[in-house]
């Protein structure tokens, strides 16, 4: 990531002069947290709290305990994470630091020694200098502007952190609940295999069955027991991951429901999802802020027009008069400046560099949201197919098999093998249901910012055949 073009942190050792202190620059009462709170409420529908003092801490603790009193819904899990995740609380302090810088930049200075740090890419330059009051006063508006933008950037980065934590928590909750369901079904499959093995043993005792057939049924049982052990591990891992995200010291207090929420009756449609992403993605908003900051830093003031960075290349090569032909247009616009007047080649290069980076971010954002949308759609279709066709078909097959058993056309072992296959089908349907909800969470995240490398959720429904251990 490119750092802010100019990142300057000033630590001033003031030599005091109370009279020079302006009353205009003070810390805000909420440390700028209010904006994060309202943004979180708007986007995630949850409340985020920065527990800076004992009173707030006690309050949030009480809220968390109240939520933990019942089996936790996904929304409640997200709420607990937003109240209680220690990493998030730690990150909120960045806000305090940024605000401190901003406030410092707006303060009337005292003469003194300052240490400044200048960063350009990976290059860091320290300068130590003696400041004169006059120079400080002259540059104060510029520095205040820079620090204000940095503060704003920090705020947005924190909103993104909050939303990412919300998404991760939601996904961890989905995985944990699905793992519970899956283990329960594996246990049923094991019960079927256990009944088969027990019956085989009794048949062998009665002299009706060979050791070979008995061993075969015992092998099914052993396999099924292994599958239960593995499912138990998965459930434990998924639960612990959720516990970490929720920041729970006492994991025993966490109760989870036994089932995932049902699939929605219809896939909620998302019109213009790509444009929505362009408008609402926080990483793009941060790019906009950076462009703004860079322009100011470079002394670029005269905006000639706005350009859609997604068509940066096209515009560079096309005449300004010819409008680009598009069926519909996705746009992410940034201002373009009058280079002719500035005549600073380096400035133009740097700004163009920034535009290309903005284009990269916008192209990535579009792609991510498209991908998330498509995966959610196909995952919905897969989950519906399993739930509405495959599972009912397996039930029909089981019913017909029972009729065959009634007619002494097949044996109880075939019935038990069929039961295992039916259980495997239900298990696959649960996995698909889980994957739909994960894809849904990824899409919601993709509308706020990059969903991260986990966007391709491992889709691993146990295939009906492999888990069945059929004869």
């Amino acid at each position: 990531m490119p750092a802010c073009p100019v990142s300057r942190r000033l630590l001033a050792l003031t030599l005091a002069s109370a009279s020079l202190l302006g009353g205009c620059a003070t810390f805000s009462p909420d440390g700028g947290f209010g904006a994060i709170q309202s943004e979180t409420a708007a986007r995630a529908g949850r409340d985020v709290v920065w527990s800076r003092d004992d009173a707030t801490r006690a309050q949030t603790r009480a809220r968390v305990e109240a939520l933990l009193a019942h089996p936790l819904s996904a929304d409640d899990a997200v709420q607990i994470a937003l109240l209680n995740n220690p990493g998030l609380q730690a990150r909120f302090n960045a806000l305090g630091l940024a605000e401190a810088d901003w406030v410092a930049a707006r303060r009337l200075p005292n003469p003194g020694v300052s240490i400044g740090r200048l960063t350009r890419g990976s290059e860091v330059e320290w300068d130590r200098s003696l400041h004169l009051n006059l120079a400080w006063l002259l540059t104060m508006p510029l520095r205040a502007g820079i620090e204000a933008r940095l503060f704003e950037q920090t705020r947005r980065a924190l909103v993104l952190d909050v939303l990412r934590l919300a998404a991760d928590t939601r996904k961890a909750w989905i995985a944990a609940v699905a793992a519970i369901q899956s283990e329960a079904y594996q246990r049923q499959a094991m019960d079927a295999a256990a009944a088969g093995a027990e019956l085989a043993a009794r048949m062998a005792r009665a002299g009706n069955w060979s050791k070979l057939k008995e061993a075969r049924e015992q092998a099914f049982h052993a396999d099924a027991a292994l599958a239960v052990a593995r499912a138990g591990q998965s459930r434990l891992q998924a639960r612990e991951r959720l516990v970490r995200l929720l920041g729970l010291e006492h994991p025993d207090t966490l109760q989870l429901p036994e089932r995932l929420p049902d699939l929605p009756a219809a896939l909620p449609s998302l019109p213009d999802v790509e444009q929505r992403a362009m408008d609402s993605r926080i990483d793009l908003q941060m790019v906009r802020l950076q462009a703004d900051a860079l322009a100011k830093n470079l002394g670029l003031a005269r905006r000639t027009r706005f350009i859609n960075v997604l068509e940066l290349g096209a515009i560079s090569n096309a005449s300004n008069e010819v409008p680009l032909q598009r069926g519909y247009e996705i746009s992410f616009e940034l201002p373009l400046f009058d280079w002719g007047q500035s005549r600073v080649v380096a400035a133009e290069s740097r700004y163009r560099q920034m535009l290309e980076r903005a284009r990269q971010t916008a192209v990535d954002a579009r792609s991510e949201v498209r991908e998330a949308c498509a995966i959610r759609q196909s995952q919905y279709a897969v989950a519906r197919q399993l739930r509405d066709e495959l599972v009912p078909l397996r039930q029909r097959i089981s019913e017909e098999n029972l009729y065959r058993y009634n007619g002494m056309l097949i044996s109880v072992f075939e019935l038990l093998a069929d039961a295992r296959e039916q259980i495997a089908a239900v298990n696959a349907a649960i996995a698909a249901q889980r994957d739909y909800w994960l894809a849904d969470a990824d899409l919601q995240m993709a509308l706020a910012g990059s969903p991260g490398p986990a966007v391709l959720t491992p889709l691993s429904p146990a295939s009906a055949a492999s888990a069945a251990g059929a004869h």
């Binding site: 049923q188 019960d191 079927a192 256990a194 009944a195 027990e198 019956l199 009794r202 048949m203 005792r205 009665a206 002299g207 009706n208 069955w209 089981s398 017909e400 029972l402 009729y403 065959r404 058993y405 009634n406 007619g407 002494m408 056309l409 097949i410 044996s411 109880v412 072992f413 019935l415 038990l416 039961a419």
Partner: protein, 459 residues
């Protein structure tokens, strides 16, 4: 897939297009049967008189006498045959049923048979056992071209030899016989015959076998051995009518085998003699008493006896699997396997599960549990004393004092005279002295002496 209705349409369309109305009028009327019960004997309205047969769950085809020739019209077509109440098979047959109608003629009759093909593929009819000109033998490709769908062929010959015969296709024969195409033929003697005695009741039936997957209706035509429906005239017990006779009637039963295995046909209560085969009457000196006669594949036997014992007498194939309906031959034996505690566990996974077979399989005859569609229980049927636990090639010969001559209706269950039925012993029985019921102990040390081959002395 072409539906059955389409076949009819096809036949009608071709007949209308290819044959003039005058020519159609020249053909004997098509008579079709839509029922599977035993029809009363067809008394000959013309020609030489004879004593007609009764086809078990079947009928005799009426004919037209034209210039001294007996004319029949057989239509080969897809049919729906009720195998027993509760099960209908999609078969191929003749004139609405499988097997086709019985053809009855008299020795010396000139017979003309029109054969119309309403099947989706070509066919022929072979007149099994008959003396006839080679070109009338009905072997597709060998003695005649096959009859294509929509075509009508005419067979004509003199019924030279009296006796028991059958007819069946000799074109894609494996498929067409697996689908039920066959029929009975009886040539009555024209006068008194030294080896063919007059009888009071003359029954005929064909043995056939089908492999209909439980839940379906069309036989698997490629099955060679593992059939699941063993039938008399494409009917399985309890769908087979009883053979109802009057006490002291002389009874003849003619049986032909068009399955792919032999059937030892067994009669309870009385002895019989085999008086003829599809090769003709058996010389009296060569007959001997039997209660079971094995009928090999492609053979016919006519058995005769005097029904001098009143009662309800079983008449069946003695292969016990042939008196069962559809069953799983790979189902393991559950006898002696205690399912206590286990059945409940299984029922948790498979609701409606019920343990069966622990004491044997007779439970099956009692319990009525849902089966696949269009499937007969493996063993079923009820008698006056409970489940008969039978299926397949099984029926009852009912001998009654008061059965009227010419009356073939079912007289109901036999009222056994008091004191003539096996009865429950009310007293106590001492425990039998028996060897230990434990399974042989495999851990017992048994000294096994293995003599190793030494050298090549034996060579």
């Amino acid at each position: 897939m072409t539906s059955r209705r389409d076949f009819f349409k096809l036949g009608a369309a071709v007949a209308a297009a290819g044959v003039s109305p005058a020519a159609m009028a020249a053909l004997p009327e098509i008579v079709s049967m839509d029922r599977a019960d035993t029809r009363p004997p067809l008394l000959p309205p013309n020609g030489r008189p004879y004593n007609p047969v009764v086809t078990l769950n079947g009928w005799t085809l009426p004919w037209r006498m034209r210039n001294g020739v007996k004319e029949f019209h057989l239509v080969a077509e897809p049919v729906v045959r009720e195998i027993a109440p509760g099960m209908k098979a999609h078969l191929w047959g003749y004139n609405g049923q499988s097997p086709g109608p019985t053809i009855e003629v008299v020795e010396g009759d000139r017979v003309r048979i029109y054969v119309t093909n309403r099947l989706p593929e070509h066919t022929t009819i072979h007149w099994h056992g008959q003396r006839l000109p080679n070109g009338m033998d009905g072997v597709g490709g060998l003695t005649q071209p096959q009859i294509r769908p929509g075509e009508t062929y005419v067979y004509e010959f003199v019924a030279r030899r009296p006796g028991t015969f059958m007819y069946h296709p000799h074109a894609d024969e494996m498929t067409q016989m697996a689908m039920g195409m066959m029929g009975f033929w009886v040539t009555h003697p024209k006068g008194p015959h030294p080896l063919i005695d007059p009888v009071d009741r003359d029954f005929c039936l064909l043995l056939n076998a089908y492999d209909v997957d439980p839940g379906s209706a069309t036989p698997s035509v490629n099955t060679m051995l593992d059939f699941n429906l063993w039938t008399f005239n494409s009917r399985a017990f309890p769908g087979i009518d009883s053979l109802n006779v009057r006490l002291n009637d002389r009874v003849r039963i003619r049986v032909g085998n068009l399955t792919m295995t032999n059937h030892p046909i067994h009669l309870h209560g009385m002895e019989f003699e085999v008086t003829g085969t599809d090769g003709g009457a058996v010389p009296k000196s060569a007959r001997w008493p039997e209660v079971t006669t094995d009928i090999a594949v492609g053979q016919m036997r006519q058995i005769e006896f005097v029904a001098d014992a009143e009662g309800d007498w079983a008449f069946h194939c003695h292969k016990s699997h042939h008196t069962m309906n559809a069953m799983g031959h790979a189902v393991p034996t559950m006898i002696g396997v205690n399912q206590d505690g286990l059945a409940e566990k299984i029922a948790k996974l498979i609701p409606d599960y019920m343990a069966m077979g622990e004491r044997g399989m007779a439970d099956m005859g009692r319990m009525e549990m849902p089966l696949p569609d269009n499937t007969l229980p493996m063993m079923t049927g009820r008698g006056p004393f409970g489940p008969v636990e039978m299926g397949g090639m099984f029926t009852v010969l009912k001998v009654r004092r008061d059965q009227r001559r010419g009356d073939y209706s079912d007289p109901g269950w036999y009222g056994q005279p008091p004191g003539t039925r096996a009865q429950l012993w009310p007293g106590a029985v001492a425990d039998p002295v028996r060897a230990s019921g434990d399974a042989p102990d495999t851990n017992t040390d048994i000294e096994v002496t293995v003599r190793k081959p030494a050298g090549h002395s034996g060579h």
